[in-house]
Amino acid sequence: MPNSSPIVEFTDVEKRYGEGPLILDRISFGAQRGDFVSLIGPSGCGKSTILRLISGLNPLSAGRIDVDGMKPENAAEELSFVFQEPTLLPWLTAVRNVEIPMRLRGAGPAKRGEIARRSLALVGLADRENYYPRQLSGGQKMRVSIARALSSSPRILLLDEPFGALDEMTRDHLNEELLAIRQQQAWTAFFVTHSVAEAVFLSNRILVLSANPGRIHSEVRVELPYPRTEETRLSNTYQHLVAEVSRLLRSVERLRP
């Protein structure tokens, strides 16, 4: 859909917290429906802030953000957020945790239970629905967190370094699972990461940001066909792109004051 209007559009967005320094400086970009956009850059480049602005959690200081034709604060129903940490309620079982967003919106117990169980099955945790978070491994907790985000059938998924704390094997598995789920559900993703390999594997677009203040330095298009699998990581195109993004990231790091 090359010419349809963007589902998320940033126009000259600026952000500072209070009287603090400028975090984001004139950020402009548009994401099309179905895009998987990774944001990568040195720490302090404001990539997590971009997600928080899209979610409407924080107000912007200047410019304009359109989320499916709405202001971010009115677009809550369109969005789901996956945090760095699993951010589960420890006193609720996996299935009850997945139900929380629906519960907060007033859905009935029967309906939300059914959707929550389906969502857990999607991330491969159907047999863990009655486990408490502390009985689950780090990877499983993150799966529950993703199931919770997907349970509200979002159009836009915001993921803030969700797999950063996991070991590489688990991270690779979850990357593949995330793409497999995306084959069945057409959401647009914004994915913050520190891992170049992860960004290339998941995305069709990678925004490389520079820091102090955060600016979009460059964009890399990843012309690898979906569905992507383990094989994708072995292809020349993939290897080449990882090298290119790494090079860009290094040049951005060099820009730092």
């Binding site: 309620l89 006193w91 609720l92 519960r103």
Partner: protein
Amino acid sequence: MNKQVLRWLMPVMTGVGMIGLWYAVHMSLGEERRFLVPAPTEVFRAFHDKGPALWGAALSTAEGAFFGFASAVALSFLMALFLSLSPLIRASFYPYLMILQMTPIIVMAPILVLWVGPGLMSVTVITFLICFFPMVVNTTQGLISTDRNLVDFFKMCRATTRQEIFLLRVPAALPYFFTGLRIAATLAPIGAIVGDFYAGNSGGGQGGLGFLTIIYSSQFQMGALFATAVVACLLGFVFVAGVIALSWLALHKWHDSFSQTDS
């Protein structure tokens, strides 16, 4: 020897050793001063002779302790909810709560007896006062210590303030609440005994353990005084055990303090 057996045996041995020591102190005193440290057997005899009076008094004290404790739990929870609303509210009220806590209960007790009258009512109020502060402080701390990310998550789901309080902050505060509850449970019987030391005898009904203490000490009934101490101690245990059981019920499934794989 097996470690498990040792774990049971050592505390028992310690207890036996302490009773032995007690006997030794008793025997080492001269004939005319020996009554000051009655032998364990005399304490047991006091239990036998004064049993009905002791248990009756224990029940009476327990009643005041329970009502004071329960009302402190309920009101401290509401107070903590209020205090958790803003730092400004906390700053406005904490100093006065501190003053309430810093004033020794021994000084307050006679005043309160004059205010609310003797008997169960003043015992309850004195217990309430001694339990209230630790409960408020702990519960408030719990309510304002909710994980930042969880609060953000609720905000992103556009949760109402009421939802945020009752689905997130209150359950997250439970471990803190139970810490306060444990402290209050050890204080409640003490408060109640102080209470009926001042006011328990004149309420028309039977006096509590504090009242027995006055009688036995005025008559130099050392065995009976020791027996009263033992009963008071048992009452404390009952309260603490009750709270531990409650906190187990509320927390064992999910909280790390009850982790099965305790390392």
